[in-house]
Symmetry: C2
Subunit: 223 residues, 2 copies
């Protein structure tokens, strides 16, 4: 029987690549997205465009009103998106975001009896968020083994992070070989409603540098 | 400065006691509840009644449509609430529920710069859920230390579980001494819209036995 996997799909470059990797590894994939009050809602349209390429992948979008908490430039319109890199953890960090997303993925994975959860975190060309680091992922794996019925019964739900040690250029090269159409994806923190990118935010800069280093044309549509 | 704490408040006996303990320990408390498609929605009314006794405690209710996943008698109306104890993990187990709730509490705790999260899990008189065990709580603490900005900066958000090793009778005695009015709380998995309890489900049985063992009158309103 084909193993099932839940794939966290944000609509960005990394998660689109992660989905392509999980598919190519032979998993039966289930895509999970979040409507969490993010400013960059063009992401959710990007998710739909990406999934149109994978008609056999079921998809759920979970609504969570995380903007009730505030505290991040990505969910609080009163905090400006920075255009220059910061020292330490930037204001675009959303408190506990990956923990919340992985927890919900864990819930769906349990119900599906899935063998894996794929998340496109990256600890090389990234924004310095604490919940993208390998030691964080290991801690979540330990938690998942104890938290679930499947874990108690001796079968783990494996947290797969195929991008974690790749540069942005290597991520793009990998996705390119797997046929990912990056023009469908949106990475910008301040994308407009049509998904056009600002070209200035941290996420835009990392993405543009990745295409340059990969020696590939950047298909991103800028404002 | 008074330390802040986020208190998970479900409207049941355990979480009402936990709030009273956190208040008596001197924390500035912030109550967090979830509307997750639970069948026993009388819980959310109980939360409001309990908090009417604590007018200085801010409160948020986060909506999460976990019933999109199904897989539990508490969120899926097609699965019956059992009236006899089961071997192993019962069908009332909601996949990854405490992980999801604690993750969201962690997000709010980060924004508040809170020192603690209180959760009323219990590993003595409980339903056998994997995410109520001490080793699960320890794993979440390790995760929280790595997941958060506060953790990276060397200050933990402490997960406090004051009930974890208490019997239901001891929980009730503790709450009684702290002035908790248990007639305001709802524990029943199948409570009616007015919060009246069925008296038959696992949760009702544990609660009734607790009052009996504590030698206190049971103020629960049964159907």
């Amino acid at each position: 029987m084909t193993d099932k996997a839940v794939i966290l799909l944000s609509g960005g470059l990394d998660s689109a690549t992660t989905l392509a990797i999980a598919k190519s590894a032979g998993y039966q994939c289930f895509a999970l997205s979040f409507d969490y009050g993010q400013r960059h809602r063009a992401e959710l349209d990007a998710v739909k465009r990406i999934l149109a390429e994978y008609p056999d992948v079921p998809h759920k979008t979970i609504h969570i009103d995380m903007n009730q908490f505030g505290g991040s430039a990505l969910t609080d319109t009163e905090i400006a998106i920075p255009e220059t890199p910061s020292d330490g953890i930037p204001v675009t960090y959303v408190p506990a975001r990956n923990t919340i997303f992985l927890s919900l993925a864990l819930g769906w994975a349990e119900v599906l009896d899935a063998a894996a959860i794929f998340i496109g975190v990256n600890a090389v060309d990234y924004s310095g968020y604490p919940d993208c680091r390998p030691e964080y992922i290991e801690a979540f794996q330990s938690l998942a083994n104890l938290a679930t019925k499947r874990g108690v019964e001796g079968q783990v739900i494996k947290l797969e992070t195929p991008l974690i040690h790749l540069t942005k250029a290597d991520i793009i090269k990998t996705g390119n070989e797997l046929g990912v159409d990056y023009s469908l994806t949106v990475s910008c923190y301040a994308a407009d409603v049509d998904g056009k990118a600002c070209g200035h935010c941290d996420s835009c800069r990392l993405r543009a540098a990745g295409f340059a280093a990969a020696g590939l044309d950047d298909p991103t549509i800028y404002k």
